[in-house]
């Protein structure tokens, strides 16, 4: 068993970055995720693993530092919360276009605008539909525990390098701030520069005599070449859908009704399932772990089994659109969720299920 610790989600994420052999972190303070940078600066990984940690002058600068580091094949991380993630979108789009690996954590808070600092899930569209300009997607992981704030970090790096694409861990203020027991994985050493160059022959680590120069850019003024490039990007997103969908099912085998949720909302829905079962309602839960690619295929299968689905998310209804697309209007699909930083309770969810789906 790995080392056990009681940690905040943000701290577990930061510790996991060090342990996963991250080369660099660039960030800017914003509530409720500032513990990531605070923890890293307290741990001083630059004195142990050699990981670079730098507080940038803005989220914009931080994401562009990530672009530089990712362009040289380094494992690079940034984190922020909703308004800060909006500022990073230009850079994330550039990194998707230039096909650079990146791990970006969004500890979502209520919006729009400056909003508040309470937990929310209202950045789903931004995370899963692109977020910045242009035709691109992120690989999006949604942790629902402090344990997963740690466990998802090495998975995120694996996906970021497998697809040469930014990966987002879409968390929220609950998961970032709450303390839970976490089992930490054993540290993975940072790659040497030779290993980086071997893994990433495209990296701009200095032109060697035996190879052509490497160029990192997202620019192609020829629309036909740009279109070809975009088709190449699409092929990667299709591959993600085939190979790397992740989800969890709770009491679905005999379910007549289904809740669909992710992150902290899925934690709440687990309790709702227990409450419903106690009343004799055969309720199950599908927890989406990857939000892109979305577990659409499994939801379509379940739509042949259950009578209706309730998408439960802390927003006015964003993921519900993907659930509806997956089941293709074959059964009723409704949305329930509080917004603006308010967290729904298990019994509120059960009431909504009865009112909107069971009727």
């Amino acid at each position: 068993m790995g080392e056990l610790k009681l940690m905040k989600g943000n701290e577990a994420f930061a510790e996991a970055c060090i342990r996963a052999g991250a080369d660099a972190y660039f960030g800017y303070p914003i509530t409720p995720q500032s513990e990531v940078l605070e923890y890293l600066m307290a741990q001083k990984p630059y004195e142990t693993t050699g990981m670079v940690v730098l507080q940038a002058e803005s989220e914009v600068s931080a994401i562009n530092m990530c672009y530089g580091a990712g362009g040289a094949g380094f494992k690079v991380v940034t984190s922020s919360s909703s308004p800060g993630i909006s500022l990073k979108q230009e850079g994330i789009s550039y990194m998707a276009g230039a096909e650079l690996p990146l791990l970006v954590l969004n500890v979502v808070r209520g919006g729009p605008g400056l909003g508040d600092i309470q937990p929310s899930q209202s950045d789903y569209f931004q995370a899963t539909k692109g977020g910045g300009h242009g035709d691109y997607r992120l690989y999006v992981l949604a942790p629902s525990s402090v344990q997963e704030m740690s466990d998802f970090v090495p998975i995120a790096f694996e996906m970021a390098f497998k697809y040469r694409n930014p990966v987002m861990i879409l968390s929220d203020g609950v998961i970032g701030q709450m303390m839970e027991k976490v089992e930490l994985f054993d540290p993975i050493p940072r790659r040497t520069i030779e290993q980086v160059e071997k893994q990433c022959p495209w990296a701009t680590t200095g032109k060697k005599a035996n190879r052509e120069r490497n160029i990192i850019t997202s620019l192609d003024l020829d629309p036909y070449k740009q279109e070809k490039h975009n088709y190449h990007l699409r092929d990667k997103y299709e591959q993600m859908k085939r190979e790397d969908v992740r989800y969890e099912e709770i009491q679905t085998s005999d379910a007549e009704y289904l809740l669909v949720a992710y992150g902290s909302s899925a934690r709440i829905c687990q309790k709702t399932v227990d409450l419903a079962r106690a009343e004799g309602i055969k309720l199950g839960l599908l927890r989406a772990i990857t939000l892109f690619p979305f577990p659409s295929v499994r939801l379509k299968e379940l739509s042949k089994q259950v009578k209706g689905m309730l998408a439960v998310e802390m927003s006015l209804g964003q993921m519900v659109e993907d659930v509806k697309l997956a089941v293709d209007c074959k059964i009723p699909v409704e949305h329930f969720g509080r917004t603006g930083g308010v967290i729904h309770t298990p019994s509120e969810v059960l009431d909504a299920l009865k009112k909107q789906i069971i009727k």
Binding site: F26, V60, S61, G71, A72, G206, R213
Partner: protein, 258 residues
């Protein structure tokens, strides 16, 4: 004497560095970008640091700088080149990192990245091409456009009461504790080209010392944006740009020789 009598191997006085690619430059005839590209690549060649140098191209006329320089390069989002270079230099301290940026990129949209990279004293070289105009987008007003100077977005000339004042970014960064070497040069005459090359060489040599940011401004022409013939543009630059942006060293390290 005819042309064929002049173009002979024995009369060859200039040889293109192999660190410039064979791709035809996309710059307008008379523009200072091509010369500055050459000087940087000559310095990299002469120092033997091709394998250790990574350059960052901006957004602007020189967005395609990576097409012309035979080294590893990244192309940055508008204004963000110093952020990219910061990360790369910190991750690869033994490498030489330079950014190549125009006035809109460095002194308008990228002001924060420029100031903070310089203030942190990142051990990078910043090459700043100041021609007082947005060239690529067609001659709009730049942060360095002179008072009274015409631009497509200042068709009656820059009225400082409405449009604000030109920004002397180089004097500004020279005030910061993190800069080590700050100089302003031009490439419009052979003598100035030689001085500019020496300044670029100094900047790269100084960056070995890890003592802070080296900042080289090149005051350049933009005959297309200024709507002038190249020779006329150079004359206009001498008469108008240089009095406002005087050439010479602004911050020199207190060392005799590198």
């Amino acid at each position: 004497m005819e042309i064929k009598d002049i173009i002979k191997p024995e009369n060859l006085v200039y040889k293109k560095t192999p660190l410039l690619t064979d791709k035809a430059l996309s710059y307008c005839p008379g523009c200072g970008h091509g010369t500055t590209h050459r000087l940087i690549m000559e310095v990299v060649e002469e120092m033997g640091i091709q394998e250790k140098t990574v350059g960052i191209a901006p957004v602007g006329c020189s967005v395609l700088a990576y097409e012309f320089m035979n080294i590893d390069m990244q192309q940055a989002a508008h204004g963000r080149a110093p952020a990219l270079a910061t990360a790369l230099k910190r991750l690869m301290p033994d490498k030489f990192l330079f950014t190549y940026q125009g006035d809109g990129d460095l002194a308008a949209i990228g002001t924060a990245e420029t100031i903070h990279a310089c203030n942190r004293g990142e051990n990078i070289v910043i090459i700043f091409i100041n021609n007082g105009i947005y060239g690529m987008t067609g001659g709009q007003m730049a942060p360095t456009t002179l008072p009274g100077m015409k631009a497509s977005t200042a068709p009656y000339g820059r009225d400082t009461h409405i449009m604000g004042n030109p920004l002397k970014m180089t004097e500004l960064v020279a005030q910061l504790a993190g800069t080590y070497y700050v100089t302003r040069q031009s490439v419009h005459t052979p003598a100035n080209v030689r001085k500019a090359k020496k300044a670029i060489r100094n900047a790269f040599e100084y960056s070995k010392l890890n003592k802070g940011t080296c900042f080289v401004e090149i005051v350049s022409n933009c005959n297309s944006g200024w709507k002038m013939q190249p020779v006329q543009a150079n004359k206009w630059m001498e008469e108008n740009m240089f009095p406002f942006y005087p050439l010479g060293d602004i911050k020199v390290p207190q060392v005799e020789k590198v």
